[in-house]
Subunit: 254 residues, 4 copies
């Protein structure tokens, strides 16, 4: 064994997304905004969408996007209008819109059940139909789901059912959209503005609990998820699969 003198690194590869364009549906905060920032650092242009024009404007100051568009992703006409209006080809689309649904199934009506189980899939399919012909080879449609519903528990209600849909949906859509790649990120608790607004005063206690119980000893941040998202965009061998990022949370009781 040789003595351990550090060596000069080899030449670093080009930025991962040089010359590419990334669309973030739900890009004004949290995971979406951090992914936009990371994509910009790796040489991409970004296009941000979000519901709230003010928040979107603040995000734009941060990441200098090619363009922004304020609309509700669940408004099918607005979504179509956005994609129809794109000036050029794109490479990747990240959808962060839509949170988990909780609550007992017996207390929901049939329409609520349908929406809770399928809303991510339905939105992803709408986007998928719009991007055929617009995404360049090697690009990916990237969805966000969670690891928190992998295990059925009484207090989660319908949530694990909705969770069960996404990995299989992702694989099936990857076969239909090929060679466009389709992948899913399954996150645990992420310390985002959304989490802060949902938890309110309970946020600090939740953070403390996770620091104490997670194998990684810290809370997962939006920038962690963003780094994974950009890797999935850049690694053109990945499709049809689910990538967990939860610091081991699914194996703890948190």
């Amino acid at each position: 064994m040789n003595p351990t003198t550090s060596r000069a690194p080899l030449n670093r590869p080009e930025p991962e997304l040089l010359g590419q364009t990334v669309v973030v549906i739900g890009g004004s905060a949290g995971i979406g905004l951090e992914t936009a920032r990371r994509a910009r650092e790796e040489g991409a242009d970004v296009i941000l969408t979000g519901r709230n024009p003010e928040r979107l404007q603040r995000a734009a100051l941060d990441v200098d996007p090619l363009s922004t568009a304020a609309f509700d992703a669940n408004d099918s006409a607005a979504l179509k209008g956005f994609f129809d209006g794109l000036a050029g080809p794109i490479d990747h689309v990240l959808i962060t819109a839509g949170g988990p649904h909780y609550g007992p199934m017996l207390e929901m009506d049939s329409d609520q059940v349908r929406v809770a189980i399928t809303d991510h899939a339905v939105l992803a399919l709408e986007v998928a139909r719009h991007i055929v012909g617009k995404i360049r080879p090697g690009g990916t449609l990237l969805l966000i789901g969670g690891t928190g519903g992998r295990r059925v528990r009484r207090e989660l209600g319908i949530m694990p059912v909705a969770t069960a849909v996404l990995p299989t949906f992702t694989s099936a859509l990857a076969l239909e959209l090929a060679p466009i790649r389709v992948n899913l990120i399954a996150a645990g608790f992420v310390d985002s503005p959304l989490s802060a607004s949902l938890l309110g005063d309970a946020l600090d206690a939740r953070r403390d609990e996770l620091r104490a119980t997670l194998p990684i000893g810290r809370v997962v941040r939006p920038a962690d998820v963003a780094a994974l998202a950009v890797h999935i965009m850049s690694n053109t061998a990945l499709t049809g699969a689910t990538y967990d990022i939860d610091g081991g949370q699914q194996f703890t009781s948190s």
Copy 2:
């Protein structure tokens, strides 16, 4: 080791479903009708429903049900009317209605996607809401799904996505409906009138292929599934789980 002279059997236990009442939604043919027959043989009364009055009448001649009711299970008002009109408590409900949906997701509109992914769950939830207070302790709500969509394949389209919902849905509903038990049978190809009508002239070739490739060397029949269904009804330790019956088909390329 003693010489092998066969012994007199111990006393046989009582019939498995003695004094119980089984409702079969979709009981005029195939798995539903065979389950009704088997339940009758095990001492149960049965109540049959089906869409087609003539077929239901013929089934009634076969199994001597307590009553029959002809209606479409997807008609919510009719379904409610049926359960409201039940004269006494029941013990088990088997839902056989509803087949798998195939086809590319990209070619379906959002409503079709929602229905294909959730129709079994939505119907099961409707039934679940009606039977609370009517099912005696130890009873079960029993659903039928399949093993054929366990693996995502291009030619199956949306089918594996719908398949992925049911096991988790069954577990989650079991927690909400407890102590009513909820279970799922996952069948492969079953040699039923439904299969015959779907396959037409291709039926014999399909049977031959399965005989040649299935580990059990024969085709699965409705009576096989019925025996499993009656066991799940009678075994009061089973809940929240999925019970495969496909002769090993999911591990072959058939």
Copy 3:
């Protein structure tokens, strides 16, 4: 709807295992003994094995077996001797021998790790090699595993790893042994003499906890598992699959 007058049951089918022979490896108590009793009630002859001759003798008084054999199933020569000495063909073999292994993997040596992960599979394969040519068509090799290790948790150590092996092993062996069927029962806590000896004074508290938390509201007993075992033996469409029996325990925190 007709008035609800109970009908005379149809003729009951023959006993499920009439004229068949069931071998129970580990049949002197608990799940094994109850399966032997149930198989006898369904018309089968049984052959019991167990490590302890006195317990085996007491079990024999209970179920009147065709024969008994006292040996340690993990003694390969004794196991071979037992199967070589069988006087006639058999139909089903249930293996109950072998409990779960717990403990941190980092504190086990390599041999302990190998045994903990593979001992059920290795014993099943030994039995499998002995029964080829002895089991009649339609027969099954039936294994017992658990649902308690489905979820990885720190306090379970290696146990979930061993749990993960059995369902896939069962499917793979079913393909190799076909047309002999191979199936796995995955049980939760079962209120057996083994549980009593493991838990000691904590048994009553465990029972109380399970009664309070399980969806079925009671503890699973050996006779529940025995009924499932006999059903799997009799239902010749079942192979390569895993059948849960835990009263919903895997979805509770118990």
Copy 4:
């Protein structure tokens, strides 16, 4: 929407592994060598091990490692000697050693079965015991498995059983080794020297088949896997999980 003029990228982040040290067990070719190269490009020092001294020497010319060590990773004493001799702390260990085992289980003796099912886990545990106290916070132990055995098929023999062990093993070990992270890469066919030597003259036909059937339309290369490996090393929120990289192969019949 603004006109699409490309923006200047934000400042690129530091190299991902700057100042870190990566040990590659099995680093003289294929995935291991490519991971070493990629890690060097991201600022890491690397330490390479391999069985063949000549190949290791050639690899060293390529990536300028801190040191190399030629030994068989399955030789426990040599493995211990290697880790005992490390001059300083390390950050990540990638184990590429060990290929899949095929063949019918019924034709293997018990020792062969044990080895085929557990050899990756046993080697990983040996390494795990050696690196405790040597890996800096945030580091990871990274294993390589496969997606090819996710589905049980007759011609794969024991392979799917061995495949089933690794994801659960990875999660369980991640809990024991925390805060050291443990992750698994599940690869499909990778166009490596190992594949070339296994397939011989059939290599080109296999490549053509994969190009025609994989959703990504090309064969997965060692550099693809290396990029994922380095991402997992750098993303300190990832632990206990399995990351697929197979171009969608698991959903095709290839």
